[in-house]
Amino acid sequence: MTVPDLAPDAVGDTERPIEPDWPKRLRWILMLVIGLPFVWGILGLELSWGAIGRAPGQIWGLLGGLLPPDWSEIAESFNKLLESIYVAWIASIIGAFFSFPLGFMAATNMAPNWMTGPVRALLSGIRAFPELVLAIVLIPAFGLGPFTGVLAIGIHSIGTLGKLTSEVIEGVDPGPIEAIKATGGTRFQAMRFGVVPQAMPNILAYWLYRFEINIRASAVLGMIGAGGIGAEIVGRLRFRDDWPKAGAALILTIVVVLIIDAISAGIRRRIIAGHPGTGPVSRTLGTIVGDITPPVAEIQEA
């Protein structure tokens, strides 16, 4: 194919810029930066082709052991799952309760620098510990059980929620704060009436989101003996005969967690939008029960 002559007079006359070569070099550097550690990592993983070759068969065997699920003791599993959910819920409440003031203390537009610095360091320090590691550290004093689970997940939640809260607060419109100060309001009133109404929907959404994550964390904590669905599943995996029951518990967990996620996501969307949402849950409900009733404002205008 020949190149069509778009500008016959200009060819050869104009000085063309030289194509920069840094994108190519960057590509090489990136490949090295990612590729070398990858190779280094792979080499230490004790891979054997035999194991990889057997893996699909093993997984198939595993699934075959779990399926078909045995639903005979599902009521018990369900109680254990509820226990995990309770732990997650209380941990989320603890996280929300303590992270709220910390979020204000870590927001640069609310607190002075001498305060935001240490509070931020504290929050990221907390976040550095995975829930499981926190739980282990707490065991010598509090033993194993839901109490330790609640504390470990709750403390970790304070770290993550505190950071997210402070980010939301830093993003609020400063106008209303100024307006409240102009009416003679105090600093505290400016927070209560200027910041909280603006930031609360997003903060609430994060609380709910954290609850979703905490359910998973609490299930995981069960595996080291803190009770709940994690212990239930691990316990049932010990004996091959119990595997179908573990399969049932696993399916139950997945389904319940997905349902909670969907409901929670629906509420989150609704909170942030400030009106009945258009998400899948609201839509489904809408098609089942007809029109979604309009919010207060529209009724009053009619």
Partner: protein, 255 residues
């Protein structure tokens, strides 16, 4: 009465926003402040309620000295001075009523207001403020569902709910279209006439200033260059304030 005596404002970066301004505004006056952007219009208004500190000279509002006032004194002063903003500064997610009630914050009990428990008389006051600006029917609608003009009227109602002696309006119509601009200006003028509240307004448009103002204050580069009756303003004075002749851009409508 508002009294500036040789007042100067210098920002932390060294910019002189107000230089040696002396000015007396009597109770009940309706004053329009004009000037190029950066001439110190906003600074002048914000010096009155202590949002920007006067570094030299003095600024006295109704007998209270703003310079060197303690935080509690400053809050007491601000509770007598309502402010209206170019960007309305409403809490969009709160209802109109809650936005207006914020004007009562300095007057009500701290603890009750924390829980949103407003005394009946304060609610009554807020509703009357909304009636003043003609949007009481929107009282329980979220602020975000209102048009720009309606939002600015909520802003005015919030200032009115303070039962202020002075209203400062910082470019109140700069974000509005011509029709709503006139409604808002009419409201402000009527409030000034009916209730006798001293009103200071920053304006960009000269024709609006002519139509509604009595006294005109012209600022240029932080200095007071004109202070007098608005009807005496001629092209020469205009050139003093703006450093150039009038163009259609300085008018809201090409009349």
């Amino acid at each position: 009465m508002i009294e500036f005596k040789n007042a100067s404002v210098v920002y932390p970066n060294g910019f002189k926003a107000l230089e040696d301004v002396s000015l007396t505004i009597n109770d009940g006056e309706f004053v329009v402040v004009v000037g190029l952007s950066g001439a110190g219009k906003s600074t002048l208004l914000r010096a009155i309620n202590g949002f920007v500190p006067v570094v030299e000279g003095s600024c006295n509002v109704n007998g209270q000295e703003v310079v060197g006032a303690k935080p509690a004194e400053l809050r007491a002063l601000r509770s007598d001075v309502g402010m209206i903003f170019q960007t309305f500064n409403l809490v969009n997610r709160s209802t109109v009523m809650n936005n207006v009630l914020m004007g009562r914050l300095a007057a009500v009990s701290r603890w009750k207001s924390m829980f949103g428990l407003w005394p009946a008389e304060d609610k009554e006051l807020a509703l009357r403020a909304l009636e003043r600006v003609g949007i009481v029917e929107k009282a329980y609608v979220r602020a975000t569902n209102l048009s720009g003009g309606q939002q600015q009227r909520v802003g005015i109602a919030r200032a009115l709910a303070q039962e202020p002696k002075v209203i400062l309006a910082d470019e109140p119509v700069a974000s509005l279209d011509p029709v709503t601009s006139h409604i808002v200006m009419r409201d402000l003028k009527k409030i000034n006439e009916d209730l006798g509240i001293t009103t200071l307004i920053n304006l960009h448009f000269l024709d609006l200033a002519r139509q509604y103002g009595q006294r005109l204050i012209g600022l240029r580069a932080g200095k007071l260059v004109y202070d007098g009756n608005i009807n005496d303003v001629n092209d020469e004075i205009f050139r003093q304030i703006y450093g150039r002749a009038i163009t259609p851009d300085d008018m809201l409508q090409d009349a």
